[in-house]
């Protein structure tokens, strides 16, 4: 298979452990079973992951987490992506935890972070400025003081895992330049939406003078939100690249097995060359993802501001293309529900929307490059 950017013994061991777990817990049958009910995730599997300490991999040690950093978390994401795992790991342990860690006052957020690391809690992050590095001029969610607390107003479509989260962490606009981080109860404000991807519990969010608790100590500007999205993008990109690897592997298995005209169809050169091109795209996308992860851990924010959109854009394009080509290379069975390949395509479509996909990522990349001396 393609070159693995994991090289240290530690990382390889973590990869093997995570791979063993996900292979067992997120088998194709179990994933299909979980999806057959309400869209969302496998609760038992989530409990097990929390018990194993994985939900706290990115949580600071002071809050009871392992504080192992982005690179290690990406190893987990890659495996979850490969299995199309129905899991709140992305929404809770990556998105919500990172927002809390980056933007919240530790005294106010400590309990939430400890909960993420220690209990099978369910949080979702609501980006009230728009999806991804949105340049939308008007915010989707605004925060207003109300007595001693705050109320939030606004509507956000298709927030990942919001349909089953207990609490929502919301980035909301306080005024034209200042933003804050808030906590609201999900009950009554989050409405489940059935999408093509049954492995995530998307919810439409409708906030109407909804009481909220402020978690930030100081307000922050758009640049801080973009910096947050840089980090989120790396996690999502790692899931996408994991899914793409699984897509390619399943397709290769099929090509090696299926026979037509008296030969395995994998011996037809036109198909081989297309697989080679997929492998090249996948290899480079994966390198971008793990370079971004390593860069996030070294704290080079300027480099991350380029690597993150690059990784998200290319991982998204590669997953889309690999799953599309995967369907085509499976021939007739590719577009039936019998094989898993179509499920990867559906997940690709959903993943591409979570942070608004390649076009938005490239716009971020261009903006960052324009900001540099020419």
């Amino acid at each position: 298979m393609i070159t693995d950017p994991l090289t240290s013994d530690d990382h390889l061991e973590i990869g093997a452990i995570v791979g063993d777990f996900t292979q067992r817990v997120f088998s194709s049958d179990r994933v299909r079973e979980a999806a057959a009910g309400a869209p969302g995730f496998d609760e038992l599997a989530w409990k097990q992951m929390v018990e194993l300490g994985w939900s706290g991999l990115g949580v600071p040690a002071v809050a009871g987490g392992a504080e192992l950093g982005v690179f290690v978390q990406c190893i987990v994401h890659r495996e979850l992506g490969a299995r199309l795992a129905p899991s709140p790991y992305l929404a809770t342990a990556a998105f919500a935890a990172t927002a809390l860690d980056e933007l919240a006052d530790p005294e106010l957020s400590g309990g939430l972070l400890a909960a993420i690391a220690g209990e099978p809690t369910l949080l979702a992050l609501v980006l009230g400025h728009g999806r991804g590095w949105s340049s939308a001029p008007s915010p989707l969610v605004t925060a207003t003081r109300s007595g001693a607390g705050w109320v939030l107003d606004g509507a956000v479509p298709l927030v990942p895992d919001a349909a089953r989260a207990q609490r929502l962490i919301v980035v909301a606009a306080i005024d034209e330049r200042n933003w804050g981080l808030f906590r609201v109860d999900a009950k009554g404000v989050s409405h489940p939406v059935r999408t093509v991807d049954s492995t995530r519990a998307f919810g439409d969010l409708l906030l109407r003078e909804t009481p909220a608790v402020a978690l930030h100590r100081e307000t922050f500007d758009r640049a801080r939100i973009d910096g947050l999205v840089d980090r989120l993008a790396v996690f999502l990109a790692a899931e996408m690249v994991g899914a793409a690897i699984a897509c390619l592997n399943q397709t290769l298995d099929y090509l090696r097995t299926r026979r037509q005209f008296g030969r395995p169809i994998g011996s037809f050169q036109a198909l081989k060359h297309r697989c080679a091109d997929l492998a090249v795209g996948l290899t480079t996308a994966q390198e971008l993802v793990f370079a971004a992860a390593e860069t996030a851990d070294t704290g080079d924010a300027a480099a991350l501001a380029l690597f993150a959109p690059l990784a998200l854009a290319r991982a998204g394009e590669v997953l889309k293309r690999t799953s599309e080509e995967g369907i085509q290379l499976h021939g007739g069975v590719g577009f039936t529900d019998e094989f898993d390949i179509g499920r990867y395509y559906k997940r690709a479509l959903a993943d591409l929307e979570i942070l608004s996909g390649p076009a938005t990522a490239y716009a971020r990349m261009d903006a960052v490059r324009r900001g540099w001396p020419a």
Binding site: S135, L158, V193, G332, T336, G342, E353
Partner: protein, 392 residues
């Protein structure tokens, strides 16, 4: 407003031999204005098929089905150029998609060419009216693209053929009354020899039709199991043992006609994308820009498909062989259909993920387009070997 300019805008520049001011267009358009509601098709497949079946009856009532069939068989004897305009007008009117095309396009004309008088009398009227629905039985689980390796067999038992085997990828088999089945009727024969084309009623206990669940939620294709199904001895098209030749005749009709309808329906859907993009949605500006670029590329590709269809039309009108134009049409259409399906959902942004929407459904359903009527790969094989003469 200038009506011809409107047509230009939707379908593209007027084609010299199928102009927008042609009297046939005017006549058909007048009828359509009265009968076609433009109501969108239901998303539920059963409801959708019913919807289309009703439209077929409406069309048949107006004498607008089987346009290309000879007058003696109830058609209008329309030449290919009229057919070309017919399908463009249907698309412009946003009429439901046709049903019973396996009967109208494939089996009907093949029956006229190879069928006995008995068979013609028995089956042609029902095809035209839509009273009897037809499906085809060619592909098998182990002979997807390699038809000559089929295994379904039929043996004579008294006055009946007894058919045993499995067909797959049969479009709308669950709604069909009859299936035309290619089966091996000479034991021990190989490849293209010893095959026969049989007409098999699906309304008998020895036939099981099993719809195949697709990623779109549809089940447009079926597996059909023949476990001793019975076919009257003379329900054979052409001579027994000559099934391959009959099938080749039939496939020629498939390649030839299919294209007529496609570019126009694609262009109408592209117009819808353009409208959605023109409205203030919540798609960020960079995605709107990218979608507009893609829209332009797809418009150009639709024009190319349109000209391939036009060329096929002119060749057919001149009584000349389509050559590899059929494979090209198929290839171009399949790839275009997928990309348009993607664009339609893309312009809806995140909403294009939500189940129960037409754009969401079309995107998923479109993935089959480059596979089910001969994969793009098979078309490229055919083009490179038969047209370009590259060695096997």
């Amino acid at each position: 407003m200038n009506a011809t300019l409107l047509d230009h805008h939707v379908l593209g520049p007027a084609l010299p031999r199928a102009p927008y001011d042609h009297p046939f267009r005017a006549e058909f358009r007048a009828w359509l204005r009265e009968h076609a509601t433009g109501e969108p098709e239901p998303l539920d497949q059963d409801a959708r098929f019913e919807f289309r079946r009703r439209w077929h009856h409406t069309m048949a009532g107006g004498g607008w089905t089987g346009l290309h069939w000879p007058v003696e068989y109830g058609g209008r004897g329309a030449d290919p150029v009229l057919q070309f305009m017919y399908y463009e007008e249907l698309a412009l009117a946003r009429a439901p998609e046709p049903v019973n095309t396996p009967g109208l396009i494939l089996l009907g004309p093949t029956l006229m060419a190879h069928g006995s008088d008995l068979l013609k009398r028995a089956f042609l009227p029902g095809i035209l009216s839509g009273g009897q629905m037809w499906c085809q039985g060619f592909s098998e689980p182990d002979s997807g693209s390699d038809l000559a390796s089929l295994r379904t067999r039929a043996e004579l038992d008294g006055d009946d053929w007894v058919v045993t085997g499995q067909k797959t990828w049969t479009t709308f088999g669950q709604y069909a009354d009859f299936c035309f089945v290619l089966a091996r009727t000479e034991p021990g024969s190989a490849r293209h020899h010893g095959l026969s084309m049989l007409i098999c009623s699906l309304d008998q206990p020895n036939v099981t039709v099993h719809p195949i669940q697709q990623i779109s939620g549809d089940a447009e294709f079926c597996e059909i199991f023949f476990e001793g199904a019975r076919v009257p001895r003379d329900w054979v098209l052409g001579e027994a043992g000559q099934g391959w030749q009959v099938a080749m005749t039939l496939f020629q009709f498939e390649r030839g006609d299919q294209g007529y309808t496609d570019h126009a329906r694609l262009l109408v859907r592209l117009l819808d994308c353009e409208r959605v993009l023109g409205e203030a949605g919540d798609l960020p500006p960079e995605r709107v820009r990218a979608a507009r670029e893609e829209l332009r590329r797809l418009w150009v590709r639709c024009q190319e498909l349109r000209l391939l269809n036009y060329r096929g039309t002119l060749l057919a009108a001149a009584g000349r062989s389509l050559g590899a134009v059929g494979s090209m049409t198929n290839l171009v259409w399949g790839e275009l259909e997928k990309d348009l399906g993607s664009l339609q959902a893309e312009v809806a942004g995140a909403r294009g993920l939500v189940l129960g929407r037409a754009d969401t459904h079309h995107r998923l359903a479109s993935r089959a387009a480059s596979i089910y009527s001969g994969t793009s790969e098979i078309q490229r094989n055919i083009i490179s070997e038969r047209l370009l003469g590259l060695p096997r």
